[in-house]
């Protein structure tokens, strides 16, 4: 559990680590040899680091650390400064047997990790799951404001603020050249309108889908970028969370389905250009087509989730490498840190590209599905 918090600081931590050990080799080396786990934060001094390391007797487990980072959490770890752990406690909202329970997640910070009869799992495949102490099988509906929920709310607020500001600027000086943030984001808006919506859905019907496509694009793009920031307001793995991508893919699915015209449904039920024996007596083609309707949003969901999560995992893997090798030999860890930092820098730059590409791909595919649903048959 403690390890998770170090992740957000992957890059600065690694840099600081190499700096500390470089300027004060004996302390740094001692710390590395004494302990195998990583405990560091950007502000820690070597002494604090050493004491912290000594307290920690858990072995460093890269896999556990990585999985914990890319998953949701009931609290938001910011940093460890000396003995002080900077943690943002988040509201826990539970619905159990017709009653609503609300309290801060910091209440779980006790020996049993329990409060009001609820227990939080800290390890294993169900980590962060809240169950009843007396009956672990009992249904507890968890509507807590978790790390990802908070990140969604914060980024949504920021997106709203930015685009309403831009909208006001458009209103206050109409027909003028764009300025500042307006000029920065206008090309993206026009790109989504012209190259995604217009070309995929068609000149006549694209306007209806514009609010959704623009929202999806900027929501994914902004959250991808926030995910790359290693500090508090960022660092949450929002677009790499299956629930988040599921909701967006479901919206695309619902919009496609309710906008589907006669032509779209006829193509699915009675696919033209297919031999009749593929449709009767066993409706093979219709079944394939109906499966296709489901797989389209499913693929959208998995693609975004897998890409973003993989990006996070790779960066974290490079961080872990430093400590895995550092545990074997300090000098080896030092040597690896240089390579790791270089690779992390490369990966972060690559992730910047991925942040845009995945937002673009999700929007483009949504637009293509809408286009298929609303297209009118061509009369030859």
């Amino acid at each position: 559990m403690n390890i998770k918090r170090y992740f957000s600081f992957s890059l600065p931590v690694a840099l600081l680590f190499s700096l500390f050990t470089f300027f004060n080799p004996s302390d740094g080396f001692a710390a590395m040899q004494d302990n195998t786990s990583l405990v560091a934060a950007p502000d820690t001094t070597v002494e604090q680091l050493v004491t912290e390391l000594k307290k920690e007797d858990k072995k460093f487990n890269a896999g556990e650390m990585i999985i914990e980072h890319v998953m949701d959490n009931h609290e938001w770890h910011i940093a460890v400064i000396g003995d002080v752990q900077l943690i943002v406690p988040l509201p826990v909202i539970l619905w159990y047997e017709g009653k609503l329970y609300t309290f801060l997640s910091s209440k779980f910070h006790n020996e049993n990790h329990s409060y009001q009869g609820f227990k939080i799992e800290l390890e294993g495949p169900h980590a962060q799951k809240i169950v009843r102490e007396d009956n672990e099988k009992a249904k507890v509906y968890d509507f807590s404001i978790t790390k990802v929920v908070l990140a969604i709310l914060m980024s949504s607020a920021l997106i709203l603020f930015i685009f309403i500001t831009i909208a006001n600027r458009y209103k206050s000086n109409p027909n003028q050249a764009p300025k500042g943030i307006q000029a920065l984001l206008e090309p993206l808006i026009i790109f989504i309108r012209d190259d995604v919506a217009k070309s995929s859905i068609g000149e006549k019907r694209y306007e209806k889908f514009m609010p959704y496509l623009l929202t999806v694009f900027f929501f994914i793009f902004f959250n991808n970028l926030f995910g790359l920031i290693p500090f508090f307001p960022g660092g949450a793995n929002v677009t790499g969370n299956i629930t988040v991508t599921l909701v967006m893919a479901a919206f695309t699915f619902v919009l496609t389905t309710i906008n589907g015209n006669k032509h779209y449904w006829v193509d699915i039920i009675n696919t033209p250009g297919v031999p009749w024996w593929l449709k009767l007596p066993i409706p093979l083609m219709p079944i394939v087509e109906i499966i296709g309707i489901i797989t389209k949003p499913f693929v959208l969901m998995v693609r975004l989730f897998a890409n973003i999560t993989a990006g996070h995992i790779i960066v974290l893997g490079f961080v872990s490498l430093i400590f895995i090798f550092g545990a074997i030999s300090t000098s080896l860890g030092l040597g690896v840190s240089v390579v790791s930092v270089a690779f992390m820098l490369f990966m972060n730059l690559l992730e910047l590209l991925v942040a845009f590409i995945q937002a673009y791909v999700f929007t483009l595919l949504s637009a293509l599905y809408f286009g298929l649903a609303v297209i009118e048959p061509e009369h030859h």
């Binding site: 980590a127 968890d142 509507f143 969604i152 997106i159 609010p211 969370n241 629930t243 919206f251």
Partner: protein
């Protein structure tokens, strides 16, 4: 909350937040932004069209100006030609008139000269006749005694006679 199992709470919040975001952005951001973008594009399109039209008009105007100028030039040339013709005509007339006058003057001068000459001749004849008569008178007055002296005397008289 597994890595690949959706969580109920997050599902709820994400749906709520995303619906709100689509609604709010759609109402307060995308609608004005897209309409303003469209408006700006149409205004730019119209401005370009208007500029092209103005260019065309300028061309037309320039052409008609040139035409006007050409016409004016032609007119000027015509006027100049006319003036030149009139001038030449006037000059000719004047010259003819002057010539006529001159010849008329010369003619009358000649006439008066002739008249004067005739008068002078008449007077000369009269003078000669008078002188001859006077001479004869003196000759006759001296009696025809000595022919030699008479001859001398005639000579003397002749010397006295002056044709003035």
């Amino acid at each position: 909350m597994g890595l690949i199992t959706p969580g109920l709470g997050l599902l709820f919040w994400m749906t709520l937040a995303f619906l709100l975001l689509v609604f709010l952005l759609g109402k307060f951001a995308w609608k004005p932004i897209l309409s303003m973008l469209k408006e700006r594009e149409t205004s730019i399109f119209e401005a370009l069209n208007a500029a092209n039209k103005a260019k065309e008009e300028m061309k037309q105007l320039k052409f008609s100006n040139e035409q006007l100028l050409q016409e004016a030039k032609n007119e000027r040339d015509a006027i100049m030609n006319e003036a030149r013709k009139i001038r030449d005509k006037l000059l000719d007339e004047a010259r003819t008139k002057a010539n006529e006058e001159a010849s008329r003057i010369i003619e009358s001068a000649k006439e008066s000269i002739q008249n004067e000459k005739m008068a002078a001749m008449t007077e000369l004849k009269n003078q000669i006749a008078e002188s001859s008569l006077t001479l004869a008178k003196f000759v006759l007055q001296r009696e025809l005694s000595d022919p030699a002296k008479q001859e001398e005397y005639v000579h003397e008289l002749l010397k006295e006679v002056k044709f003035n």
